[in-house]
Every structure is written in structure tokens, then in C-alpha cells.
Subunit: 133 residues, 2 copies
DNA sequence: CAAAGTAGGACTGATTTGATCGTATTTTAT
DNA sequence: ATAAAATACGATCAAATCAGTCCTACTTTG
């Protein structure tokens, strides 16, 4: 299917929102503005925080804010934070136990797939949050 | 998840096989050589035929053969044949009824996603079956 | 006319994803 | 102090997707 997950979509919308507003915004505020399910967005924000893209403030008057300049955050990093696995084939997957792919020993397309992976990462590496503004 | 489907993987392996052999091969032969589930491969071959990438011959001594030069077949075309939908977001999907995406009216990332789609299609458009040989 | 193929519909099980719920923790304001 | 507003996060449920399999038909060569 090759589709971005909703987590990534929501994450991009949220980052765009934060980048535009320029200061702290709550998950509820972003959820309302973008018609995004609140509970899911909340998790997305936590993941973005763990990746070090945004910062969080707990308690009343809390919320989230950008921690890195929009132009410095590329899509690859957002996807890494939100979409555990962004590899075109199983055998390329980072912590992949090759034996998991039953075809590995007989696979005839490993090298080209690695090349494809590299090209896609370039595509996702080139686009930044700044391009969403 | 952003992973190529097994259908596409199998299709690429099969096309590579056909391109290398240079003549007619049966689905069973390709399935055995690549340790690919026969039934699934058979469907993949049918899809590739409908797309006009390969030709089929029924009956005894039948099988499949390349119909287009390997260098003329890019990954985008193979994916189109095998992976109904290869769009990064729902709203970009070819026959998409925009109303299907509940966010469409409020979506703030439509244009950038379209740009991303174009870039990815370029990636998939550049790689051909000739690169698998 | 039998065997070896392709053609293709229908079904099942597994995996993944989206969404929701419940509860704990932190912090500000009163 | 304490109530309210917010993040933190684990657990669970439902829906969609996909891989794989089964079954039956049709086609062609020998």
C-alpha cells in the first residue's frame, strides 16, 4: 500500500501548527484545530518529544513547543519517531533478524532493494517542516 | 509501515528471472526457483500480464515471457500493476473520493504531500528491471 | 483426450493500524 | 492545600489490509 501512517500525518500537521504558532500549544488545541483524534495525537506528541523534536511542559499552562528549527527537521526524522519501521523490505529493517525473512537466503533482489531504500531516504531527507509552512 | 508488498517483491523477482532467462518460463518454475508461494505468484503474473509487461501462453508448453525490454519497465509501473494504491496519503489516491478522507476539508498538508508523492514517484520511476540484473 | 498450463473467484488467518479507555503524574492558580 | 488542567503511558478493541490457500474453469499441445 505504501502509505504514510496516520501517526505521521498527524505528526506533520502538529509540527506545522507548532511551527506556525511559534509558542506553546496543548495537544487539545492542536487536536481541535486539525480535527485529529485527541488520544492518538497525544501519543504522537509524546513520540515526537522522545525523538527530541519538540519539548513538553506538564501541568496547567503546559503543552508542547518546537525544540528544533523547522528547516532542520526532515521528514525522515519525523517518520523515524512515529513509524517504527520505514524500510521497503523486511531484510533491510534496522534490528532485523535476517532469518525472519524466509526468503533471505534465496532472495535475488537484496542489493537493488537496498539501493531503492537509499533513494527513498533521500526523498524523505530532503523535505523539511519548513516546506509545510 | 511503508513497506513494499509481497506481491511487488515477488513480481520483481519474477521479472528478474524472466529477463535473465530470456524466454518462456512457467509460474511453477519461477516459484520453485525463488521459493515463492505458487498460488500467489500465479496471481502476480496475471496482474503483470494485464499491465502489458509480460505475455502469457496457455496450455502445455505455456508460461510467461517478457513483452517489454527490462530497461523500459520501471518500478512505478510494476507497483501500479501489483499494488493497487501507491499513494502517500488517502486524498491523493487516483480514484479517490475526497470525502473519504474525513480530514480533507481541514487538512493543512495537502500540497506538501502532493509534492512528496511526486518525488517518490520519481524515485520509483528511475529504477528499472534492468537494474535488477 | 489427457496432461500441463494459465485464469480467476472465494475464503481464512495473521498482522498492522487506528482509535479508545483508564489511571498516574506534574504543575499552576486559587 | 487542593482542585483543575495538562502530559505520560500501558492496555485493549475494532477495522482494514495482506499473505496465503483452495477450488474450479478454461486453453493448448502432444
Amino acid at each position: 500500500m505504501l502509505r504514510l501512517s496516520k501517526r505521521v500525518e498527524y505528526g506533520l500537521m502538529a509540527l506545522q501548527y507548532l511551527a506556525k504558532s511559534g509558542n506553546v500549544a496543548t495537544a487539545r488545541e492542536i487536536s481541535d484545530a486539525g480535527h485529529i483524534p485527541y488520544e492518538l495525537l497525544a501519543k504522537v506528541m509524546q513520540s515526537l518529544k522522545h525523538e527530541g523534536i519538540i519539548d513538553s511542559y506538564q501541568g496547567v499552562r503546559g503543552g508542547y513547543a518546537m525544540l528544533v528549527a523547522p528547516a532542520q527537521i526532515n521528514l525522515a526524522r519525523v517518520m523515524k519517531a512515529l513509524d517504527e519501521d520505514a524500510t521497503v523490505t523486511e531484510c533491510i529493517s534496522p534490528g532485523s533478524v535476517h532469518e525472519q525473512c524466509t526468503l533471505y537466503a534465496n532472495c535475488t533482489i537484496k542489493e537493488p532493494m537496498q539501493k531503492l531504500q537509499t533513494r527513498m531516504e533521500e526523498s524523505f531527507g530532503k523535505m523539511t517542516i519548513a516546506e509545510l509552512l
